[in-house]
């Protein structure tokens, strides 16, 4: 049985080995970019049916960002929306016969988790400056600096392991059941796989939002979140 932790090169471009996951990733990227360009080519004030459907999608992303982060969604829409769309399409690419989702490979998930790690720093520095970003490590008190620093590393790792474990175990279980039982038996498991894939894409995006919201809110001099205790003290009795 092939190890789920290693990937086999599909072909070589010069000296560079290319795995199947990379090909699928580029296919998904082409699909998403091409689809977006095609949909937004002729935008009009009175939307066509396609435009209305995609506006609904963007609206849904916006409302999720607003509810989760308690902030204006505009700066985060592109990042979070793309993250969700890519992981969702990648997880559901298992629907095509012969395609293994690239998120079932450690490398793709590591890349996604690293993107979130860098994005947290980027948004934190952009919202509060370098000083504000560094100050976000000292919340709620400077004693927490080593723990907060460690957390920023371990949560990246846990993002990676969570996505990899969920998607890979789904593919793995379907493979085992198909080899043991036959053609139609793994169908319910594959349906469960699709549900897990959608939920994991959602959770990945939500966790990215939560991390960004945390660092952006902590880096500001006045926290925006209404439920923090500092705000309660500030309100006049």
């Amino acid at each position: 049985m092939n190890s789920p932790l290693s990937s086999v090169p599909l072909f070589h471009v010069g000296p560079v080995p290319v795995a199947a996951a990379v090909v699928v990733t580029w296919g998904i990227m082409a699909l998403l970019v091409g689809g977006s360009v095609l949909v937004t080519r002729r935008l009009s004030l009175v939307p066509s049916k396609t435009q209305a459907a995609f506006e609904l999608l963007v609206d849904a992303v916006d409302s999720q960002i607003t509810e989760t982060m308690q902030m204006a969604p505009a700066p985060y829409r592109a990042f979070v929306g793309t993250l969700f769309a890519f992981i969702f399409v990648a997880n559901w690419s298992v629907l095509l016969p012969g395609v293994e989702p690239p998120t079932a490979r450690l490398e793709t998930d590591a890349a996604l988790a690293l993107i979130v790690f860098v994005a947290v720093i980027w948004f934190g520095v952009r919202a509060g400056g370098v000083r504000g970003y560094l100050a976000s490590f000292a919340v709620p008190s400077p004693i927490m600096i080593p723990l907060n620093f460690l957390e920023s590393l371990t949560r990246t790792f846990s993002l990676l392991v969570r996505l990899f474990g969920n998607v890979m175990s789904g593919v793995f279980v379907v493979g085992i059941v198909a080899s043991l039982a036959g053609l139609l038996v793994p169908l319910p498991l594959m349906a469960l796989d699709l549900l897990t894939g959608a939920v994991q894409a959602y959770i990945f995006a939500v966790l990215a939002m939560v991390f960004i919201a945390g660092v952006v809110a902590d880096g500001r001099p006045v926290p925006l979140q209404p439920s923090t205790p500092q705000n309660d003290q500030r309100t006049p009795p």
Partner: protein, 81 residues
């Protein structure tokens, strides 16, 4: 089949089976509490289920860690090379 391989296989099975118990109990409690909360306050169902999903993902990660340990033991065991 030497003893090291045997021990790796048994430990992989033990890691997954016992590692799944804790998260399973935790997820059960979390879902029960969320159901209770939604029954009391149906208008907050959106917020509750979103938080529930994120929390479940967090809890589930513990079981996934065990799965990864088991896979490491089975497929990338440095002691068996």
């Amino acid at each position: 089949m030497n003893w090291l391989a045997l021990a790796s296989i048994v430990s992989a099975a033990v890691a997954v089976s016992f590692g799944a118990i804790g998260p399973a109990l935790g997820e059960g409690r979390a879902v029960a509490a969320a159901m209770d909360a939604i029954a009391r306050q149906p208008e907050a169902a959106n917020t509750i289920s979103r938080t529930l999903f994120v929390g479940l993902a967090m809890i589930e990660t513990m079981a996934i860690y065990c799965l990864v340990i088991a896979l490491l033991l089975l497929f990338a065991n440095p002691l068996l090379k």
